[in-house]
């Protein structure tokens, strides 16, 4: 397993302030990632997945307060100077941002944006950079790549822009990839191709991956382990098989049930009742309590912490769901 983690995140907390009030966007997130390991991150919109990635990369500290520890190959990133961090970003650790429209520069051609990245992070010469740019676009499935290098982002479809972002992130062969919803705008065949590419790089180049996605099918097919977030905290994490097949936290189970599978067409789908809490006024006890069917009196007053419930498996719940069908009976 993760005997020599390359990335260790410990008690990561990120707080923003809005109009003088503290907004606890990420709370006590901890996980370790080994070489070539793929870790999934799922959870409700607004639960802190993107902020977690931005905090790891040292971006969130510019507009929020970050505490806890992020160790990258033994070095502490949270206290590193911006200059040192810049050497690591893009070269050793690359990030694919969630919004491909806003993270590409609308004024520069796609080709320029790719070759600039290569110029900043590799020793390749001019000619080699152009070749590498075409090769990368080809890898991510942009047809006729050479003839589209001179185009601007607005001339690409949503999914093509997303693929350009992926090509830019992977161009410098990073050791760690932080991928925020990298395939949401892609059709399933291209998605499969890109996930294969990422898995291949993880395998052959020992690239570690943290993958944020809403698609539980993608999690099932790509991740080794997965963490489920709710209201800024990890509520369940462990081996992907165990978490998806026998969720122990009621929120994870609710997510699994919401997938439109084996339900009559055009009928109402299951969805977790209620709405997520405002981060400004989190409940005193378990943040999920107002929406939880297993909630008991303890849940209203005390907050459950992540506990080991099996080897490599953790849940933050006072009344976890039964581990197997037999237990339930």
């Amino acid at each position: 397993m993760t005997d020599h983690p390359i990335l260790e995140v410990e008690n990561l907390c990120t707080t923003f302030s809005r109009g003088g009030t503290a907004l606890p966007a990420v709370r006590d997130v901890s996980f370790a990632l080994g070489k070539g390991h793929v870790q999934g991150l799922v959870g409700e919109s607004g639960s802190g997945k993107s902020v977690t990635l931005r905090s790891i990369l040292g971006l969130a500290r510019h507009y929020g307060e970050v505490s806890g520890s992020v160790r990258w190959q033994g070095q502490e990133l949270t206290s590193m100077s911006e200059r040192q961090l810049r050497k690591i970003r893009g070269r050793e650790i690359a990030m694919i941002f969630q919004e491909p429209m806003t993270s590409l520069n609308p004024l520069l051609t796609v080709g320029t944006q790719l070759t600039e990245t290569l110029k900043a992070h590799t020793d390749l010469g001019r000619r080699a950079r152009r070749d590498r740019a075409i090769e990368m676009l080809d890898h991510v499935g942009i047809p006729a790549a050479a003839s589209r290098l001179g185009e601007y982002p607005h001339q690409f479809s949503g999914g093509m822009r997303q693929r350009v972002m992926i090509a830019i992130a992977l161009a410098a062969s990073p050791k760690l990839l932080l991928a925020d919803e990298p395939t949401t705008a892609l059709d399933v065949t291209i998605q499969a191709q890109i996930l294969d590419l990422i898995l291949k790089l993880a395998d052959e180049m020992s690239m570690g991956v943290v993958l944020v996605t809403h698609d539980l099918g993608v999690v099932a097919q790509t991740c080794d382990t997965v963490s489920v977030m709710y209201a800024g905290r990890v509520v369940e994490q462990g081996d992907v098989r165990q978490v998806l097949q026998t969720p122990r936290h009621p929120y994870t189970e609710g997510l699994m049930r919401s997938v439109p599978q084996d339900v009559p067409p055009r009928t109402q789908l299951y969805s977790v009742p209620g709405t997520p809490p405002s981060l400004f006024s989190l409940p005193e006890g378990c943040a999920f309590a107002p929406r939880c069917q297993s909630a008991g009196p303890a849940c209203q007053t005390a907050r459950p912490t992540l506990q080991d419930i099996a080897s490599g498996r953790q849940t933050a719940c006072f009344n976890p769901l039964p581990a197997t069908q037999e237990d339930a009976a």
């Binding site: 806003t102 001179g150 185009e151 001339q155 291209i190 809403h214 439109p260 109402q268």
Partner: protein
């Protein structure tokens, strides 16, 4: 029976590609991206038509033509027998109200400095939906319709979660009492539970308001769940269209089969048997001759390389654009 509300005929759209200096010097002809290559379809009153296909195949371009953000190079769209690009329809602004598009990212399409109430009130005023003294009441009604709390009216878009913002966008589209909704990747950015809420809301509103919906999405499970009919697009052409359940349980076109087989299973141990697509990826810059899928198709014959297959009805299935659909499906 079911009435046709919109009829799209042989729609073509190509975007010119900017020529590089070298091309200009060498006097190479300008190229163009052929985004739509003859799309024809009908939208029936009260139905949901799902649209799926490869990224870049022209789905958003089609959606944008329908709401007149793009003008097609050739072909026509009729809404209730009126050509929407004709002079008469252009003067008549009611089309802009009756056919509403909802974008993938409501955050960038909602004005960040306007409160939810103002956003909705503006939509009502622009299209003169209500006299001034009824606007406040109607805003309240709309918020209730999409199940947003009443105090939502005072809040700014960034004070909402992704799912709630999506519902504001829906409320705004519904404010003007449209008959047709064009939903381009409406729920892709939402987690599955919020997705389910939005889909439930759409289904319910469709029933109540008799809405016609064009639903573009990559999530095949979701498309299957919401659609009555589904169209599969490949390189700017419809290659298969038909009843949703039939198409999903027995896709007939080789591309539809490959696409559906690539949907990732929820079971980590079920690696599936995705049909590998061989050959180079097609480019809208250079659409292959004959069947546009022929460079990647396992069943290709000489005929496929030269003759464009027309969309035709296949017994027990929908309509399919493939010369060999019968044989291929016999052996399936």
């Amino acid at each position: 029976m079911t009435q046709t509300v919109m009829k799209i005929d042989d729609l073509h759209l190509s975007f010119p590609v900017s020529r590089s200096l070298l091309d200009v010097v060498q006097r190479k002809p300008g190229k163009s991206v052929n985004a739509l290559n003859g799309v024809s379809l009908e939208l029936k009153q009260g139905e949901t038509l799902g649209v799926v296909g490869e990224s870049g195949c022209g789905k958003s371009t089609l959606a944008r033509c329908i709401v007149r953000l793009y003008a097609p190079t050739s072909g026509q769209i009729h809404f209730e027998d009126e050509n929407i690009f004709g002079a008469a329809a252009r003067k008549d602004r009611s089309y802009n109200r009756r056919v509403q598009m909802m974008f993938q990212d409501p955050y960038s399409s909602l004005n960040p400095r306007m409160s939810t109430g103002d956003i909705l009130a503006e939509a009502l005023r622009v299209h003169q939906m209500r006299p001034e003294n009824e606007i406040a009441g109607r805003v309240e009604e709309l918020l209730e319709l999409v199940r947003l709390p009443q105090d939502a009216a005072e809040k700014l878009p960034h004070e909402f979660s992704g799912g709630q913002r999506q519902r504001i966008a829906i409320a705004r589209a519904l404010a003007v009492e449209p008959e047709v909704l064009i939903a381009d990747e409406l729920v892709s950015a939402l987690d599955v539970s919020v997705q389910a809420q939005v889909v439930n809301l759409l289904l319910e509103l469709q029933e109540r308001l008799k809405l016609t919906i064009l639903f573009v999405a990559h999530d095949l499970r979701l498309v299957r769940h919401v659609s009555n009919r589904v169209a599969v697009i490949y390189l700017g052409r419809i290659v298969e269209i038909g009843d949703s359940e039939t198409l999903f349980s027995a896709p007939s076109h080789p591309y539809s089969r490959a696409l559906l087989s690539a949907a990732p299973s929820l079971d980590p141990d079920d690696k599936g048997v995705a049909i590998q697509l061989e050959g180079e990826l097609p480019s809208p810059l250079n659409v292959p001759s004959g069947c546009p899928f022929h460079v990647r198709c396992r069943h290709v014959t000489a005929q496929c390389r030269t003759v464009v297959p027309a969309l035709r009805a296949l017994e027990g299935r929908g309509e399919v654009a493939c010369h060999h659909a019968e044989e291929i499906n016999q052996h399936a």
